[in-house]
């Protein structure tokens, strides 16, 4: 065991040493080529020495490379090609050195030089393919030509996560970004390949990594959860780490028997995993565009009307940049006349949020407001509206937020709004809705969160006593 670890230790010098022969031999070839000109002829004296040094470095690389190849798992055929090419580099550089020292040596110098150049390049490329994957070099180019092949860079959002296949759409993209680079067709660290489900289930040198149905017992999860500085932690701490949600997804998938075929909806979903799955459905950018804005696009509102309203101290603004939907509020001015509302009605297609709180509006105004059918948020708190005007709103079907705090609305009045089936929140604090009415109101709006307020923060003895240092007794 001790001997093996010494081998492995020496092998790990290979990635460091390989760069020496590449650089040194290139310099030798460059000087050799330059020295053909009379001006640089003096350089030729340096060529044999550099070649010798390069040859020695190549030899050292070969030895460490061999040690690395027996202590780590790589694609066998590439490794053997890389090895023989590396050995050839050493030999050819030695021959070239002999030729430089003794011009009588039988082979043509140009052929040797050219051969060495080609060999160094091939060996170097193969080595690169082993560490970074065979498509490493050309990947950026392929993305340039083929727009669909962005699979490796980012996890694509899924259109409908419940309909997606759990393994192919959710799990394998995680493995792809975080695991494949060391466990793939070319390189199998620990004898483990993860890029195909069959091989993933088979496990590695030390046995299975996935115990279907028991995530906590699965080596994969255990390794992911180890502290990053633990030597068994995966991925190694210098590599990109999976996020907590990604680990949770893997955990969930394995607990569901690590099934390769089933769709997400067919697997048991805990409360913890549901939000994580939903997030997959939308990319981060999509998430920021709130659902508060209707999805349908809409034309621009009439600037003139907006300017007229602004001149009357009424704030009318798009709800966000790049959208034509508008919000309006009267926060600066609490006196509204009917003309203002008439103007607002002309913004009907765009207006989605309207705040009229603490203004002087009465039932009369509700006639105009009711015509604003695209409204999703309406704040009528602390106004003079009553049950009489309220029913006009019911034709209004898009309301999600309705604030009636501090109005004279009663329980009977509010139930007339039953038709508002999209309503999510309804605020009824300080209204005529009594405790007795609450049940009927709740029945009228079964899906709505109704807040009748009146919260009390009771006074505790604690709140008014000041705790003092106990008097010390001597």
């Amino acid at each position: 065991m001790k001997f093996l670890s010494v081998i492995e230790f020496l092998g790990h010098f290979h990635p460091l040493l390989v760069h020496l022969p590449i650089g040194i031999l290139f310099v030798a070839l460059l000087l050799q080529w330059m020295s053909r000109k009379n001006k640089y002829a003096s350089l030729s004296a340096a060529v044999p020495l550099i070649l010798l040094v390069g040859c020695c470095a190549a030899f050292a690389s070969c030895i460490t490379g061999y040690l690395l190849s027996i202590s780590d798992e790589y694609d066998k055929s590439i490794v053997s090609w890389h090895m023989w090419m590396g050995i050839s580099v050493t030999l050819v550089s030695l021959m070239l050195y002999a030729k430089e020292k003794n011009p009588l040596f039988a082979i043509d110098k140009r052929i040797l030089s050219l051969g060495l150049l080609v060999l160094v390049m091939i060996t170097g490329h193969l080595g690169g393919s082993l560490t970074h994957g065979s498509d490493y070099l050309t990947k950026p180019l392929r993305q340039l030509f083929d727009k669909d092949s962005v699979t490796n860079t980012a996890i694509k959002p899924i259109a409908n996560v419940q309909e997606a296949v759990a393994y192919t759409d959710v799990i394998s993209p995680i493995l792809q970004t975080k695991c494949y680079s060391c466990h793939n067709v070319n390189k199998q660290k620990g004898g483990l390949r993860m890029d195909e489900i069959g091989l993933l289930m088979k496990g590695g040198k030390e046995g299975k990594v996935i115990t279907p149905g028991n995530a906590d017992e699965s080596e994969l999860i255990k390794r992911l959860l180890l502290p990053t500085d633990n030597e068994h932690h995966m991925p190694p701490k210098e590599k990109p780490q999976p996020t907590e949600s990604q680990i949770a997804l893997l955990h969930w998938w394995i607990n569901n028997n690590a099934d390769a075929q089933k769709k997400v909806k067919d697997l048991a979903q805990t409360d913890k995993i549901k939000p994580i799955l939903t997030v997959l459905q939308t990319s981060v950018a999509m998430q920021k565009v709130r659902t508060d804005i209707p999805i349908a696009t809409i034309g621009k509102a009439d600037e003139k009307i907006i300017d007229q309203l602004k001149a009357r101290n009424i704030m009318v603004l798009p709800v966000a940049q790049n959208t034509n939907y508008l919000m309006a509020n009267f926060v600066t001015d609490s006196i509204i006349n009917i003309d203002d509302l008439q103007l607002l009605v002309q913004l009907k297609p765009q207006l989605i949020w309207l705040k009229l709180h603490n203004t002087n509006i009465t039932d009369e105004a509700l006639t105009s407001i009711a015509r604003l059918t695209n409204l999703t948020k309406l704040d009528l708190s602390n106004t003079f509206i009553t049950d009489k005007g309220l029913p006009q709103l019911s034709s209004d079907s898009n309301l999600q937020y309705l604030n009636l705090v501090g109005t004279k609305i009663t329980g009977a009045g509010i139930t007339q709004l039953k038709g508002l089936n999209k309503l999510q929140t309804l605020y009824l604090y300080k209204t005529g809705v009594t405790a007795k009415d609450r049940l009927t109101v709740k029945e009228a709006f079964p899906k709505t969160v109704i807040d009748t307020g009146g919260y009390i923060v009771p006074l505790l003895i604690w709140d008014t006593t000041v705790i003092k240092e106990p008097v010390k007794k001597y």
Partner: protein, 502 residues
């Protein structure tokens, strides 16, 4: 002439020649070849860069600096109330329940926790200090809250706790700057300044960014924590007094009536307008708008800032102490301001620096009194906003500038007279509520003694990014050009804590 003199003469001549050569046409052309080339290259590069990408994302209109502006995304939060417990409250006596720490109470702190660490006051080997409060789980979310917050524990299902906040500053002033301006050094705009710069304010009769302090002391970092940094100065926080006139000299002087005041302000603005015509300095336009706003504020501010016209049951709910500059009064004011469309209300409450150096700073004495002074009113604030339908669009943030150590402080290696904890940067608790934040949620975890974060670690930058996100901004694109580069609140860091967003 001696040999030496001749030599000197030759040296002088050579030097003169060298100087003259500097002034020749030949020298000029030779030297300027590179210089002119570089200039030309510079201008070439200038024109090929994508200008649009470098433009500040928000336009600054000096004539109407506080006009409401559009966020890039439809915002969840219209307003923010930031409750800063200056001095840093102990997470271990409030929200971070650590029974394991109790078992270590009184033992020497293990070397592994001290190696390579620096503390503000702890020297040598301190003793561990177990939690000095009883904990229980509350609400449907089963969140742990200590007996020090009996009211808040009834509303944990409205809050999202961040249990593993970290910072890299262990002194009050830099840490407060870090939390509020995104940099431990002076000169950056504060959160509220960024918010008002980006969004303006809805109510043109009130400032967009109001600051209220309590606890008898301003925060250590001074007014810079609500300063505007390199943003135009109109965006700095307006510190209002919580007793008496909210702003000094807000009332018209004796004998001056409203019309006369209006006339004088009009006259001043006319002079300024003419000045602007001559010099075209945008700061003059800002000044004009400030005068107009001040005039309007004279009427609206005293009304909004007066809590006396609130009904008695609201006073009872908040536990206010009329006539005093206390935190509860400020919290009630914050609600009134938000109701009136103020964008950002920043509250500072000093007195949470529980070192144990005297009784008022003891974790089992003064700290409890501090808790009592904020518990009821914060609970009332959240419930009151909720019943008014405002919690949906008001973001509440609670926290200190760092946390406190699981060790008992031993200042200069000697036992402090009272139980106390030192400044701790590696883990502390903050919470957020309202405006699109998950209800009854806990994010992040600390180790079994609450020393360091083990999962869900967040930095002040992440919290700032989240606040901006709720206000409708992408914190990476919300920039201001200064000193030749675009600056942003989170500088090069910050990730929106998407886990706590509903």
């Amino acid at each position: 002439m001696t040999q030496k003199q001749l030599h000197h003469q030759r040296l002088v001549k050579e030097a003169e020649k060298a100087v003259m050569q500097m002034n020749t046409r030949r020298h000029f052309l030779k030297e300027s070849a590179m210089g002119l080339g570089a200039l030309a290259l510079g201008s070439l590069f200038g024109s090929c860069g994508n200008k649009a990408a470098h433009k500040s994302s928000v336009l600054f209109d000096p004539a109407h600096p506080l006009m409401p502006k559009l966020p890039p995304f439809a915002a969840k939060a219209k307003s923010v109330i930031y409750l800063h417990m200056a001095g840093a409250p102990s997470q271990l006596e409030l929200f971070d329940y650590k029974p394991e720490l109790m078992k270590m109470d009184g033992q020497d702190c293990p070397q592994s926790l001290l190696e390579g660490k620096k503390f503000a006051f702890i020297r040598g080997v301190p003793k561990m200090l177990g939690p000095q409060a009883k904990f229980a789980q509350h609400g449907d979310s089963r969140a742990w809250v200590s007996e020090n917050m009996p009211h808040l524990s009834t509303i944990v299902d409205e809050l999202s706790f961040l249990k593993a906040v970290t910072t890299d500053q262990f002194n009050h002033a830099p840490a407060q700057l870090m939390v509020h301006t995104g940099s431990a050094r002076l000169g950056r705009p504060s959160l509220g300044s960024w918010a008002t710069y980006g969004l303006g304010t809805e109510n043109q009769n009130l400032p967009g960014f109001v600051v209220l302090t309590s606890g008898g002391k301003n925060p250590d970092a001074g007014k810079s924590v609500w300063g505007s940094g390199f943003l135009p100065s109109v965006y700095q926080g307006v510190q209002c007094r919580s007793e008496g006139d909210p702003v000094l000299f807000i009332k018209d002087p004796e004998g001056m009536d409203r019309d006369l005041r209006k006339a004088s302000i009009d006259a001043i603005n006319q002079v300024n307008a003419e000045e602007y015509k001559t010099y075209n300095d945008p700061e003059i336009l800002s000044r004009i708008s400030q005068y107009e706003m001040a005039y309007k504020m004279q009427i609206s501010a005293p009304e909004v800032m007066n809590i006396n016209n609130e009904p008695a049951y609201i006073h009872e709910m908040y536990g206010t102490q009329p006539g005093e500059g206390c935190f509860a009064n400020n919290v009630l004011l914050a609600r009134k301001l938000v109701e009136k469309g103020v964008r950002f209300v920043q509250l500072f409450d000093w007195g949470w620096d529980s070192h144990g150096t005297d009784a008022s700073l003891a974790i089992d004495l003064g700290f409890i009194n501090k808790c009592r002074s904020v518990d009821k009113c914060i609970t009332a604030l959240i419930l009151d906003l909720k019943q008014r339908g405002l919690l949906e669009e008001t973001l509440i943030v609670w926290g200190g500038e760092f946390g406190r150590t699981p060790m008992m402080e031993n200042r200069e290696g000697k036992q402090n007279p009272y139980k106390g904890r030192d400044h701790h940067t590696e883990a502390f608790t903050m919470w957020m509520a309202g405006a699109g934040i998950k209800k009854g949620f806990t994010y992040g975890e600390t180790d079994e003694i609450g020393y360091s974060a083990i999962s869900g670690k967040v930095e002040p930058f992440d919290i700032q990014a989240t606040i901006l996100n709720q206000l409708g901004f992408d914190h990476e694109k919300f920039t201001y050009d200064f000193q030749g580069r675009p600056f942003r609140l989170t500088d090069t860091r910050g990730k929106v804590i998407t886990d706590i967003l509903s």
